[in-house]
Symmetry: D2
Subunit: 336 residues, 4 copies
């Protein structure tokens, strides 16, 4: 059994992680922390059958566990990661602190100095695209929810140098759990329900840096630029990214599909839908799956629809997948 | 034209009031205030086409208007009402400050001294049940949203002394706009969506005092006691109250229906549904209507379902109906 | 490994069952059928990662499995159960065909002759209340979704003869998956969304017969009568039953709680919430749990709120729990 | 008073039209028809206070009204329009039958012969872009819901020849009322709720023909091509179109805004949001407004977000606006 700790259990991602780890046949949860709710038990915070004492972060016994999951805000998490590594524990970090490979990029997108630049770069925990770097890692940066859906959606095109125009358009839509559990005006029920609201559209959302960095690493040829328009959906969970890519004019839809099938045929968590089916959030909700559909709108214009559950493949499930890789387990252990 | 002012325009009830008054053929909106947003204009606060400067409450020119609507928190509103009355303006108050007829009852249910006991009692602004008292009123207490649906739902039984048992059970369900616009954990989108949550059930919700007071006034015979269980629905607006009443064992459903039809046949805003139809929130959403259905579950047990839109018949629409009564207009003017 | 078959896989209950059985460590799914979709594979019907060939019911190889789950309409299911039993297979039936213990009661509530009266009575598969009868059963009647929530909610009171009045009021609210997957006007998205609609209220819903039968069996003293008002909620899954019971006037909330805690303390799937917490659908969604809260509204009036997920504890999860009991597994195996 | 008739009152658009016309100060509703519900009254079909007898279409007394609104399926409507014109009535048609200017285009997009080619071309009823052609019209083609949002969103760019690339990308999202009132699997509540589903993406949706036709008419320079990806949102009403346009690299956001402000400054139903605000469906729900926001994502890439209520500005409200134009009323009469 792998002994695990969870820091930041009372956010949506931390709680989802706990739900999945509870059923994981090879994991034993040794401790859980919550800064805002320390001293309570989980059932006092979240309605549901799970109950576990919530420690203060300072009291987390890192030395007692094999791996710790950090579900903490960016800026805070880096030094906690350092503490855990110093205690000999492996770390899977949910925040943005280790996703960008340089302190300069971090400063550009997060507008602050990186707290522990000496730890950079850190392996990017998207197993389907970066598995080799994860096996021996002591610290993994769990990807952002939007980048997971976008990068899985375009990797097969990027790898063969298929971008006929370096600018891609990503029109993304996310459920509200992606915005966290702290109540705000724009996530108040009445404001979200019966509404759809774009936010941070263009080239300004913080996930753009992460997406462009990884897309560049995947791409043969010039670095992609991503126009990224997120929208807040009136649902709890799920991301649907509609991706518009210019490809060579002689590519057929069948050829595109063959690229994707080849790329993902052995991947248990990526499903390329057959011709005529479009990916929807219902394909992936409450699973660690990514569903992809491919539509050639006209010669030279490809539309990829990529769906994930932002709390599973976009956060907790992917983290467990990373843990499975790190500890040599079958990658699907405890996942679905 | 009636010159009107609105105090507290940026809550849901105040904003709904503004929406209806904008289309009212006999009303001219002279000023609007907002404590939290003073200095801004409405379109900066609420997405939508309505724009109007938001004054601070202290700057409200009460003397320039014929009537002012107060959409302010209880405890605060009473002294503002006094100021407006002193300026010669008539007042329709949305808060709970003037709904209870005695300072003692106010203290019991709101746990504070009444700010202006000398203004009590104030006519209770439910025109269908209390029209005569409203015509000449200078100050009207606009009823609570739950009490409106419950009192209209049981008045015909109460008036004929039909309670075979003084205890009624009201299982009520409300949309989230009834909980106000300030973000809280329990009105965060993710917590409400795909959920149903009871709250303050039993005999503790503050609207119980108001309901029992008015029910007692309507009743022939002993004073009714109301077991009241509100539930928070994952919708924006609407209240459905399922009311269980013990009636004489020889009453037929047809007889009950005849009581209701007689009571409401001339009321433009109360509709008694025909046998076989059950009232739903869709019957009344975005209207000033109350829809009632009547089901005799077994001899002696009547189920009344009463539906209103909490923001219209439960707040802003009823306030306009009261204004129409006060100023001698047709009661349906500007309403629907 | 237990070899299982599923008949009727493409309704919501059958699909939910497949999702849970896929992760059950002791179950192997041998076949799945669908009358409407025979010849297709599951992924053509349901968006999602699960794929399995869908046989016609006539082609179901009952003799190859240890147990078959029947998720078929009432009236149809009884003779299929007979076929499966004849093939030596054990049967867990989701329909109403075997829930009523007599053919006369079946005729009264379902308005047709019972297809296989010689199989009656059949053990009622609510393990917390009827475990002993299930261990050796060859055929189990999986309870209805509403009855599960109601019976668990009132059993502790019934068993001690605590009904001060034989009539109970159950105001129930259910998500739409309880109404099945066939599109109808009243389950069209636009009709349900932003609405709440009561239906079949009073003493007419078919689950009343089942509830009263089992309540009578549990009760010490006179047979309970249940006024039952179901409402259709704009959510996918979950049932919340608000139950109003008259109890002796000297019962305290603490005493009531002690009855419930004692009744359920060893039950892994029933949770009695501490004083001050009310049960919500979020407590149980996507789990096999039943959450109960207890409120003494006034002396002699108890309000029990009972929540379950209609597709899990109300259908598929309870069926697996029954399977676990039948085959001597730990009752929580593969459940949550 | 203008005497009006409504054919096809029991679809969502027809019912919405009735709701608005009921409150229109210059309209009198003379008759309403419904093919599926003829002989009933409206309140038997739609929950709500409106009640009116529903005639069969064959019994519609066209000669008694000044204008008739046809809310009928395409293919059916053309000959009804002919009948109404023959009776001397003016016609506003909601269907697609008269939106395309040639029978050939109609055949291409609707895969059938045009029933009354001799009536083509018909003025396209988008007043902000085509007002002059509507004043004297006897027959007006009310635009599709998607085209209204898209054409208002791009007209100012098209008119100045601002397309740096003729291909535009429109990522559109619509509420479910746009799919009509007939229950189908893909509009069943459980399938839509907590989901987002793209459909007919690429260059195949029937509204593409209409959009490209009108865009070509507006454009200076080469004819635009529109990649169009509609998605079904889990809300009742509202359309949000996120439009990606390549513009000259030296255009600033301020310059773009000045184009739009100039184009729409006198339009009561189009609102160009100030810099920093993004259009949302909440800006326009239950109004005849179109809200537009402008974001320059990077030099040369403009993102226009265009929001309308599909049942109002996208259908019934726009039809009334057209009626107001036809009959010389102020264009805002009875609208909001």
């Amino acid at each position: 059994m792998i002994k695990v700790g969870i820091c930041g259990t009372t956010g949506y991602a931390g709680y989802e992680l706990l739900r999945w780890l509870t059923r994981h046949p090879e994991a034993h949860i040794t401790f859980t922390t919550s800064e805002s709710q320390a001293g309570k038990t989980l059932a006092e915070v979240f309605p549901g059958p799970l109950d576990t004492p919530l420690l203060a972060l300072d009291d987390a016994p890192f030395h007692e566990v094999d791996v710790v999951f950090l579900c903490l805000p960016h800026g805070v998490t880096a030094q906690v990661a350092q503490r855990a590594l110093d205690a000999g524990t492996r770390v899977i970090d949910f925040s943005a602190d280790f996703r960008l490979t340089s302190a300069a990029a971090y400063h550009r997108w997060y507008d602050q100095d990186h707290p522990t630049p000496e730890l950079l770069p850190v392996p990017y925990g998207l197993p389907e695209l970066n598995r080799a770097a994860l096996t021996d890692a002591r610290l993994i940066a769990n990807p952002g929810c939007y980048p997971t859906s976008v990068l899985l959606g375009i990797a097969p095109v990027l790898r063969v140098g298929g971008l006929a125009d370096p600018t891609m358009i990503v029109d993304a839509k996310s459920g509200v759990s992606g915005a966290g559990r702290v109540p705000k005006q724009n996530t108040h029920f009445v404001e979200v329900n019966e509404n759809l609201a774009p936010y941070n559209i263009g080239h300004v959302h913080r996930h753009v840096g992460e997406m462009e960095q990884e897309a560049a690493r995947l791409a043969t040829g010039s670095a992609p630029q991503i126009i990224f328009s997120p929208h807040l959906l009136p649902i709890n969970r799920g991301i649907l990214s509609t991706i518009y890519v210019r490809v060579p004019g002689d590519w057929t839809e069948e050829y595109v599909r063959s690229l994707y099938v080849e790329a993902y045929t052995k991947e248990p968590f990526v499903r390329v839908l057959p011709a005529g089916q479009l990916a929807t959030i219902a394909h992936v909700a409450h699973t660690n799956q990514c569903a992809l559909s491919l539509t050639l709108a006209q010669p030279g214009t490809l539309i990829v629809v990529s769906c994930t559950d932002n709390l599973v493949k976009g956060a907790a499930g992917q983290a467990i997948q990373n843990m499975n890789v790190m500890f040599g387990l079958a990658e699907t252990t405890g996942l679905f």
